[in-house]
Amino acid sequence: MDFEIVIGFEVHTELKTKTKVWCACANEFGGPPNSHVCPVCLGMPGSLPVLNREAFTLALKTALALQCDVPRITTFDRKNYYYPDLPKNYQISQNDKFLGTGGYLEIDLGEAGHKKIRIHNIHLEEDAGKNIHPEDKNVTYSLVDLNRAGVPLLEIVTQPDIRSKEEAAAFMTQMRNFLQYLDVSDCKMQEGSLRFELNMSLRPKGSDAFGQKVEVKNLNSMSVVLKCIDAEFDRQSDMLRNGERVMSETRLWDEVKNETRAMRSKERANDYRYFPDPDLVDVDITPEIRAAAQATIPELPLARRRRFEEQYGLPAYDASVLTASFTTANYFEKAVESHPSPKGISNWIMTEGLAWLNKQPEDTTIDDFPVKSAAIAELVKLIDTGAITGKIAKQVFPIMLETGKSPAVIVEEKGLKPVDDSALGPIIDEVLADPRNEKTIADLRGGKAAAMGALMGAVMKRSGGKANPATVTPLIRKKLGLE
C-alpha cells in the first residue's frame, strides 16, 4: 500500500523586540546565565505581567500579513504544566480568543505551481528558559538559565495542508523568508529564534480521512525536520503495514539515532488546564491600532519579485531566486544602488554568492558573505567600464572572497590591469602573423563575423587575459584594412 504524508506545522518564532513580553528585561540572545532577569520573568511571588506593546504590534502585523481574521478583543490564557525552565509553572499563552485565525501562506513550489497553506491560528505567548544538564554523569544537578524566559514568542499553527517532504521544505524556507520580510524575528534556528514542530500522519493514497497524528518536538534545523519526516514516514508506514495503530502522541527527535522516540511519561503533559489569565486585561484591537499595524507591513516576497522583474528588467528566474531570501534581495538592491547594472550584479550573486551560501550552515545569510554588496557592485562596474575583463574578474573574485579587499585594490596589487592599448599592437601583429590563423583571417575577410571571436581568443590568450575586448576588435579590423 502506498501512503500519503499529511503534515501541519507549529511555527514558533521569537519576536525581535527591545524588551521581553511581560517585563523590561532586555530581549537579547546569549549573555551570562540569568543576567537578563527580574522578579517578573523569574516568576517571583507577587510579580505581575504587563503586556509589551511592541511585541503585540509585531504579532498583530504578522497576523494581518498572513491574511488572518483578527478579532476586536483578544485575551491571554494560562497553560499550566510543571517544568523547571518555566518559572511560574504556567505559560502565558492564548487558547481561546486568539490574535488571529484563518489566513494562509502561499508557497511557491516551482514547476508544481503555488499552494496555500492555511493557518489555523496565530497567537502570542512567552518563551521558556533553558535547562542545562552538565555533561559529567556524576553530577546530580541540572542548571536553569532564565535569560530566554519571557521572550515574546509568536506561534503560527497551520492546518494539515502539506502533502510531501518537498512541500514541507518549501513551506519552512518560505515561512522563514516571510517572517524576515516582515522584520518581526531574527529567524535563527540555531539560536532557537525560529522553531518548527511537526504534526505528521499517514494515510493510504487516495484516502480523504486523516490518520492519527504524531507531534515531534526538538527539531532544531530545517534539515533535521526533513530527516525526521523520512524517519517518521518509515516508522509510521511500517506500523500501518503491520496492522498496528499509530498512537497520537508527542515524540522527541533523537539526533544521535536519527529517529523519534516517545516522550517519557513525566515529560508528557496531557491536561494544560487552560483558563483566562486574571493578571492581564483584554486587549482591544481598535480600528486605529489595527490600521497602525497594517501600515507597518512592508513589501512582501511576491510583490518584490514582480517589482524586480519590472524595475530592473530581470528575468523571472533571477527575480524569484533573489527575492526568495529577504537578505539576498536587500543585498542585490544595495549593490544596484551603487552601480545600476542589475543583470550583471544578479549574475554574480546567483553564481558566486549563492554557491558560497549553499556551503554554509542553515542560518547563514548573504549578509555573512565576505564580499559585501558594494564590492560586488564595484567589480561589475570595473567590467562594465572595460577596466577589467570578465576573465580577469573571475581571477579577482576568489581573492576578494579570501581577503575581503576591494576589487580595484586587488587589480592594482596583482597587476591585473588590462594591457595598455599601445602594447596591444605587437600582440595583435603576432597573432595575425601566426600561420595557424591564416584560415580564420581569410574567413573574416570573407565576411564571417564569427571568425573575430577566434582571433579575439588568441589575443586574449597571448595577453594573459588582460586585453580589453572593446579595444581589440577595432584594432584587428584596422590592421586587416577592414575599416
Binding site: P49, Y82, P84, Y90
Partner: protein
C-alpha cells in the same frame, strides 16, 4: 482612655510633641510585652524600624517630612513583598524567602516615610478565616486570647486592636480584611478591585485579591487608603483614575436622604448568632435614625456566592501557587532522586492542609471534562452576582450587611472546612462583584462582650461615598474607643 490613632500620632509628630524614634520604641516595647499573648507577627523589624525612625526624625528636624505620616509605624500582612525582609505568607514553603524587590504598596508606605515595624501573621497564603492555618502558629484575639481573631488578615487585626501598632494593611480576597476587623473590633476596608496595586502582593486569587487598610477609626482608613491607592504601570489590572483626598472628602457627606439597600438574603437569620444579629439590627436602625432610607431588596444569586467563590478562587490559586516547587527559592526537600520527586515532595512538605485542599479543588475545577461544569459555570454565576449588586446599587446608594454571622470563636472550633467557609458568607460576594466595602465596629455581643461588625458596600470606585457614610455612621454608633480589649499594649 483609648488607643491612639495614626492621625493623632501624626498631629503629635507635626507639633513636635513626640519623635518617630520615641513612638517606634514605644510600639516595639508594646509588641515585646504583648506578643507572647497575641502572636500578631511573623517578623518584627526592630533595628530596621529604629533606623528608619531616626531618618524620619532627621527629615522632620529639617522640616522636610515626606508626608504628614512620616515617622508613624505601620504593620503589613506577611503576604506583601518587602525587599530584604523575609516574606513567608505564613507558609513553610516560603520560610526563608527574602525578596529582592519591594511591592508597590510597601514602596508607597516607605515613600511616605512610614516605619514598617512588622510583618503580620495570616492564614497560609491568605487561605482561611481564623489565622489557624499559619505555619508559624495562630494569632490570638485581644478580647479573649482563647478565641481566634478571624482571618486571613488575623495578625493585621490583632496588632491594631491590641495596640501594638497604630494601623496596618491586610489583604481581602473573600473577606480577609473585613471579617477579622469585625472579630477584633476595628475598621477594615476592601477597596474596589483595581484601586490599589497588587504588584508585590503574593497572589492567592488574582481576580479577587485587594490590599486595604485596617485601622482604629474611619479617618485613619481614609488617610491610609489615599496613601496606597493609585494607578500602577506594573499592574495591568490597576485602574488609571485619580486618587481623591479621602480624609478631606469624607467630611463632606451626609446620610440624610441617602438610600441604603438591605438585601433580604443577608438578613434571613439562618446560621446567625442571636447576639450578633441584635447588634447588626440596631446598627441598621441607627442608619435610619440618621435619616437614611432603608430599602429592602433581593439579591437572588447571593445563595450561590460560596460555591462560586470557592471555584473561582481555588482555580486561580491552583495556578498561582504552582510556582512554589523548590527549584528557585523557598523550601526544597532533601535528597530527591529526580525533578518530579523534588517538585512533589517540596510541595507536599511545604504546604499546609488547607492550601493543599484548595489547590486540589482548583485543579479539579479546571480539569478537562470538568471545566464547563465548574469553572465556566462559576464565571457565569459571578456575572449574575455582579448584576445583583448593580441592581441593588441602582436602587440605593449603599448596601448594608452583617460582616460575620458569629463573633470570635475558640481555636479548633471550625475543624470542618465547610463550617469555616461559612464564616465568609456575608463578605465574599463583594469580591466577586469587585466593588468596595467596609466593616465598622457596631457594638458588642450582650453575653460575651465580643465585638461585632457591620458592613457598608458601595459601587466601583465609590470609596468617597463609602467613607462619607462610614464617618457619620461611626460617630453615631459610638463604639470606636468605647472599650479596650483584655490584652492591650
Amino acid at each position: 482612655m483609648h488607643l491612639p490613632t495614626a492621625h493623632e500620632l501624626s498631629e503629635q509628630l507635626n507639633r513636635g510633641e513626640t519623635t518617630s524614634v520615641k513612638l517606634t520604641q514605644q510600639y516595639l516595647e508594646k509588641i515585646e510585652r504583648t506578643e507572647p499573648r497575641l502572636h500578631s507577627f511573623i517578623t518584627v523589624l526592630g533595628h530596621e524600624a529604629l533606623a528608619a525612625a531616626e531618618a524620619s526624625d532627621r527629615r522632620r528636624a529639617y522640616e522636610l517630612p515626606k508626608s504628614p505620616f512620616d515617622g508613624v509605624p505601620v504593620a503589613v500582612k506577611d503576604n506583601m513583598i518587602t525587599k530584604g525582609t523575609k516574606t513567608t505568607c505564613a507558609s513553610r514553603i516560603l520560610d526563608n524567602f527574602v525578596p529582592p524587590y519591594n511591592g508597590t504598596v510597601v514602596q508607597k508606605l516607605q515613600d511616605a516615610g512610614m516605619i514598617v515595624i512588622g510583618k503580620a501573621n495570616l492564614d497560609e497564603f491568605a487561605m482561611g478565616s481564623s489565622t489557624e492555618n499559619s505555619a508559624f502558629g495562630r494569632s490570638n484575639n485581644p478580647w479573649n486570647t482563647d478565641l481566634v481573631p478571624g482571618g486571613s488578615s488575623g495578625g493585621s487585626a490583632t496588632c491594631v486592636a491590641g495596640g501594638q501598632v497604630p494601623w496596618s494593611l491586610g489583604s481581602d480576597t473573600g473577606g480577609s480584611i473585613r471579617q477579622p476587623a469585625a472579630l477584633c473590633g476595628i475598621v477594615g476596608m476592601k477597596p474596589t478591585y483595581g484601586r490599589v496595586s497588587r504588584y508585590g502582593l503574593v497572589a492567592f486569587a488574582s481576580s479577587l485579591d485587594q490590599i486595604g487598610p485596617m485601622t482604629l477609626d474611619v479617618e485613619d482608613t481614609a488617610h491610609l487608603l489615599k496613601m496606597i491607592s493609585g494607578y500602577d504601570t506594573k499592574d495591568s489590572t490597576s485602574a488609571n483614575l485619580p486618587v481623591p483626598d479621602y480624609a478631606e472628602e469624607m467630611r463632606k457627606g451626609s446620610l440624610r436622604g441617602k438610600k441604603v439597600a438591605r438585601p433580604k438574603e443577608f438578613f434571613t437569620g439562618e446560621g446567625m448568632d442571636a447576639g450578633v444579629a441584635r447588634v447588626v439590627d440596631a446598627a441598621v436602625e441607627k442608619l435610619a435614625s440618621l435619616g437614611a432610607e432603608i430599602v429592602d431588596v433581593s439579591m437572588p444569586h447571593l445563595k450561590y456566592s460560596i460555591s462560586c467563590y470557592y471555584l473561582v478562587a481555588t482555580a486561580e490559586c491552583s495556578s498561582n501557587l504552582a510556582r512554589y516547587d523548590g527549584a528557585q527559592y523557598g523550601y526544597r526537600t532533601e535528597g530527591a532522586k529526580n525533578i518530579v520527586e523534588m517538585f512533589s515532595k517540596s510541595r507536599a512538605e511545604g504546604f499546609g492542609a488547607e492550601v493543599k485542599r484548595r489547590i486540589m479543588m482548583g485543579t479539579h475545577a479546571l480539569s478537562a471534562g470538568y471545566y464547563d461544569a465548574y469553572y465556566s459555570k462559576a464565571l457565569k454565576i459571578r456575572t449574575l452576582l455582579k448584576q445583583d449588586y448593580d441592581a441593588a446599587l441602582k436602587q440605593a446608594d449603599l448596601i448594608v450587611a452583617p460582616t460575620s454571622p458569629i463573633p470570635a470563636f475558640p481555636a479548633g472550633a471550625k475543624a470542618d472546612p465547610m463550617s469555616m467557609y461559612l464564616c465568609d458568607i456575608f463578605t465574599l460576594s463583594l469580591n466577586l462583584a469587585g466593588y468596595c466595602g467596609i466593616s465598622l465596629p457596631a457594638g458588642f455581643t450582650a453575653n460575651e462582650g465580643l465585638p461585632v461588625g457591620v458592613q457598608l458596600f458601595a459601587g466601583a470606585f465609590e470609596e468617597v461615598k463609602l467613607l462619607q457614610a462610614s464617618y457619620e455612621f461611626e460617630k453615631a454608633l459610638g463604639v470606636v474607643g468605647s472599650r479596650l480589649p483584655a490584652v492591650v499594649g
